[in-house]
């Protein structure tokens, strides 16, 4: 584990010869960047991922309308097919849905919500998992036993089932009157609670290796408190594998959110993510209006595929055994 990190120059204290060079030039000179340059597929995947993030961030500037402002929607414009087909109309590049909503704009806004839930879910899962993993690995004993037993049990159940249950429990506690924003929070929590195990196990494993090294003993000797040793000294040495898990988890979190929304227990129609858009569009598939579901589906698939490719590459690039 520590080897993977040591090979990453950003995390390593620079040797004297490199001390004068900037962070950027060292990063461009690193093994990781070299393997990035070598893989065309990874560069394409990275470009698509960045593009999707940019589209989501600047959604309001790029969209031809705000699809959730009823004042901007006109029923006259409903069910227009994409621009390149016979019945296409400008400015609706990818056509419109049954409420006259521009599909392209809806995808931009939906992608923003999907990415928001995904990133927040990964951060929440990561914070929870890293904290529990650090505690379990550093203290060991009964604490370790309890945390890891819970992790074992949870690992036998698929994440989607846990997310569905958390979602259902939240709904039953707060009743069915949750508004869109609180639903967003519920989704982030249910994704976080379903994906923390991966982080906790990895961090615990690394910590158990790291804590027997001399630098930790030295830190303990000069009297640093345990939380400080864990966060400032042990944690940075476990970051490599965590980064890989986080990337792959981002794709999984987006899938989970989309699935929950598709099942009708995620985000409501008033705040649609890509999953909600697919659920709505699915109802029009039989009427031959394929574009309402096809383009959100393509966007989701492209997003997940490119994040997965990045994750695969990162796992190999940070693994010293494969070099």
């Amino acid at each position: 584990m520590s080897d993977a990190v040591a090979s990453n120059p950003d995390k390593q204290s620079a040797p004297p010869a490199q001390a004068g060079r900037s962070w950027l030039s060292r990063a461009l000179d690193s093994d990781v960047f070299y393997s990035f340059r070598r893989s065309k597929l990874t560069m394409v995947a990275a470009a698509i991922t960045v593009l999707f993030f940019l589209l989501a961030i600047f959604a309001s500037a790029l969209a031809v309308q705000n699809p959730f402002d009823p004042a901007q929607l006109q029923l006259m414009n409903s069910r227009i097919s994409p621009l390149w087909t016979a019945d296409g109309q400008s400015p609706f590049l990818l056509g419109t849905d049954e409420q006259g909503r521009d599909v392209f704009s809806a995808i931009l806004y939906g992608m923003r919500i999907s990415l928001m839930v995904g990133v927040a879910g990964v951060i929440f899962a990561g914070a929870l998992g890293i904290a529990l993993g650090l505690i379990a690995g550093y203290f060991g004993g009964a604490v370790d036993g309890v945390i890891m037993r819970i992790a074992d049990v949870q690992l036998t159940f698929p994440a989607i089932l846990i997310a569905l249950l958390v979602d259902g429990i939240a709904k039953s506690i707060f009743g069915n009157r949750l508004d869109a924003t609180s639903m967003l929070v519920v989704l982030v929590i249910s994704i976080g609670l379903s994906f923390w195990v991966g982080y906790a196990r990895t961090v615990r494993g690394s910590v158990m290796v790291e804590k027997n090294k001399d630098y930790v003993a030295a830190a303990q000797l000069i009297g640093l408190p345990a939380p400080k040793i864990m966060l400032r000294h042990v944690l940075p040495n476990t970051m490599g594998p965590i980064l890989v898990i986080a990337t792959i988890n981002l794709a999984l979190a987006i899938i989970t959110e989309a699935t929950l929304s598709f099942l009708g227990v995620g985000l409501p129609d008033t705040m649609p993510s890509l999953g909600t858009l697919i659920r709505i569009g699915n109802n029009y598939l039989f009427a031959g209006e394929w574009w309402i579901v096809a383009f959100p589906g393509l966007a989701l698939a492209g997003l997940i595929l490119s994040i997965n490719l990045l994750g695969d590459w990162l796992r190999d690039a940070l693994n010293p055994k494969l070099r």
Binding site: T156, P158, V265, F286, L305
Partner: protein, 326 residues
């Protein structure tokens, strides 16, 4: 060996106990069960009578024991939406889910092993590369998108297969099967592929990796030196040795298949337990949610227990380490 089995069994019971506590807390504390049963204009006194008749005024531990005792006899209370006993609803829908899950697993095993063996033996062919690409897509695409795609292709555009439901079913006692009618079999095809695709890619990748690993070992080289035919080496020696992990994974994945059938059943409106569960989450029907949780956990825990025990039976090395540890 016996000690190991016992310890695993105790662990399994512990997990079921924990799940039971969660299910009970959902049932008891998430929303007042009385409110779900009576109408809005019921008086407070009448509510008290209902509360007493349901035993909700007893101490919580007593209620918990009663819930557990009832659950052990498959009594999970009455569904809020359907006004029917949950156990009846689950029993009605279990055959649909199990048939779908079994078909999906068979599909995944057959095609996963075939594609895995092929792409290990003919690593550089176009077809092998195509399989690899398909497996990446299979892992990346969400299940429901695959389902929608299949529906659009084979139901909407080509009109070959039905897009929803189970088709005609035949009653065999309490078990209703779609395997005996043509429309039932046709209805099974798309849901099985949708549900099994992820497992298929998993098995394919596993078989390929294991085959490549085994083909490098000394005993394969020795088998070649003995002059055995390529076919005998590949299928008699190599494939046989890759099958142990494959069967384990397929076994462990069977639980996931049942859980993931939630999504497939929703896409294809398949009248199984998963669809029931999703409707329960949508309508906050706690008794069904709690019962589904208990049922699925029981399936998961049983599969894990059986696989763990089979492992020690099959693999003597594991038995030795277990013996030393205890």
């Amino acid at each position: 060996m016996l000690a190991f089995t016992l310890r695993r069994a105790v662990q399994a019971i512990g997990v079921m106990f924990a799940v039971g506590i969660i299910a009970f807390s959902m049932f008891r504390f998430a929303g007042d069960p009385v409110n779900q049963i009576v109408s809005i204009d019921t008086s407070a006194a009448e509510r008290e009578i209902v509360r007493k008749s349901l035993g909700l005024d007893d101490p919580v531990p007593v209620q918990f024991v009663r819930y557990f005792a009832d659950a052990a006899q498959f009594k999970f209370g009455v569904s809020y939406q359907f006004r029917q006993p949950v156990s009846t609803l689950l029993m009605e829908r279990m055959p649909a889910t199990l048939e779908l899950a079994i078909c999906a697993t068979v599909f995944a095993m057959v095609f996963g092993i075939l594609m895995g063996v092929y792409s290990a033996l003919r690593r550089d062919t176009v077809l092998a590369k195509l399989f690899q690409a398909v497996s990446l897509v299979g892992i990346s695409l969400p299940t429901f998108l695959i389902g929608i795609l299949l529906i659009y292709l084979f139901a909407v555009t080509l009109g070959w297969l039905p897009s929803f439901g189970r088709g005609e079913v035949v009653k065999l006692g309490w078990w209703s099967t779609g395997l005996l009618t043509l429309s039932g079999l046709k209805a099974l095809i798309m849901p099985s592929i949708t549900l099994g695709l992820f497992q298929m890619t998993l098995i394919m990748r596993l078989v390929r990796a294991e085959m490549l690993e085994v083909l490098r070992t000394d005993y394969i080289r020795f088998a070649r030196a003995r002059g055995l035919t390529t076919r005998a080496i590949h299928f008699g020696h190599a494939l046989k040795n890759t099958l142990i992990p494959v069967i384990t994974v397929a076994g462990l994945q069977f639980g996931s298949v049942i859980a993931f059938s939630i999504i497939t059943e929703t896409v294809f409106q398949w009248p199984g337990m998963g669809l029931l569960f999703v409707q329960a989450v949508q309508n906050v029907d706690i008794p069904i949610m709690a019962a589904y949780l208990l049922m699925v956990s029981l399936i998961f825990v049983t599969i894990n227990l059986v696989v763990d025990i089979l492992y020690t039976v099959v693999d003597p090395r594991l038995r030795a380490t277990v013996g030393r540890a205890s």
